[in-house]
Symmetry: C2
């Protein structure tokens, strides 16, 4: 009936009694991020991270009560890479669009962010991000819940475009005829439009980033000054 707090963020980093811990959450998190950056999220196992830290898997559980906790820490750590020192202009659309751009950049730097099993519980860095976004929306007449939803939607657009850009970058290096992966199940008679559309999109057409910017601005203007 009186169980412990459920997220990493309200569990104390360490107790006050025993010997000083030889490592810190930040250190472990940094190592885990490094592992994920080079080997993908699947490579982030307790054993792997422990090995790179020169310790045993069991020791990590002094700092983290589960693997999911570690993933939350990782997500929050890279959230801290988003620059929040950019001054706000006062135009909510412009400010949020710029923020979204920087957030997408972080997703491209750490593609494993999109593989996180469940949307991570925001930590202090994520809260800073949210606070910044809310400050950008301050000039608005939106109700408070609507502001949160707006930010959520922008974040959704970020992950959406980040996903397509990452996929595009990953498919880029392969031979074009072999990597018809998305059209594997397309049959020309049953799916004429699909085959036509797939055939007509060989080049990376134009920079998806400008499409992203335009999209975000359009959605934001619609939301901010609409009803």
């Amino acid at each position: 009936m009186e169980d412990e707090p459920t997220t990493v963020w309200n569990r104390p980093e360490r107790g006050a009694r025993g010997p000083a811990p030889e490592r810190s959450r930040a250190q472990i998190t940094a190592e885990a991020v490094a592992v994920a950056d080079e080997g993908g999220l699947a490579a982030v196992s307790m054993r792997q991270v422990a090995r790179r830290l020169g310790t045993g898997p069991a020791s990590l559980y002094r700092y983290v009560s589960t693997r999911a906790d570690l993933l939350d820490l990782m997500a929050d750590a890279v959230s801290g890479e988003i620059d929040l020192d950019v001054a706000l202009t006062g135009d909510p659309v412009e400010d949020l669009a710029a923020l979204a751009s920087r957030a997408k950049r972080t997703h491209l730097d750490h593609p494993w962010l999109l593989d996180l099993p469940t949307e991570p519980v925001p930590g202090p860095r994520g809260m800073d991000y949210l606070e910044y976004a809310l400050r950008a929306l301050e000039p608005t007449r939106l109700a408070h819940p609507a502001r949160l939803e707006t930010i959520g939607l922008v974040n959704g657009l970020v992950t959406l475009f980040a996903r397509t850009e990452i996929r595009r970058a990953a498919t880029e290096g392969d031979s074009p005829s072999r990597t018809r992966v998305p059209g594997a199940a397309a049959t020309p008679d049953r799916h004429p439009l699909v085959t036509a559309a797939l055939a007509a999109s060989p080049g990376a057409d134009q920079d998806t980033h400008v499409l992203f910017e335009r999209m975000v601005r359009r959605v934001l203007t619609g939301l901010v000054e609409g009803p």
Copy 2:
């Protein structure tokens, strides 16, 4: 240099030589979907599915070359639950919005869809869906790549709203004070706007579905008749 096709969809379901298989991909997929529906995606293990089919884990690899294949099959199977027999009206915005609504319904019926590690490779059912969406966009003057991107964006909105609705439904049954999970790392002094916004969003405000419909229509009108 000459390796086998990489997706389930172009691997033959069975060979022509040996004894008839005792099961089919469809049967295994159906069982796996059932497992996921009641136990979440984590419950879908080869052993679990095999046990429910009354066989051993190794046998499943006659039908599926990896667990990821099984997940692809599952995703495509539930894609088939989206009704594609609804006649098109000729209004792309209206038709795509209606389609998106039905797609979101499917996501709510199978919440594990959002937990899929990577966006699954579309199968025949997914292709039917894509073909239908492209037919809806036929009256448009959009270029072919732009049509695919539009559909991708609508799908993104579907997953986005499905995620929030699922989360809301899951959090609904808990006591309101204990389940302040999202605000676990919010500190009132450092994040005044966040705490204010979180405090002001207790009720489920209004139906998110109408917000979804409005959002999709707005985005679509902007994309379809804009440049």
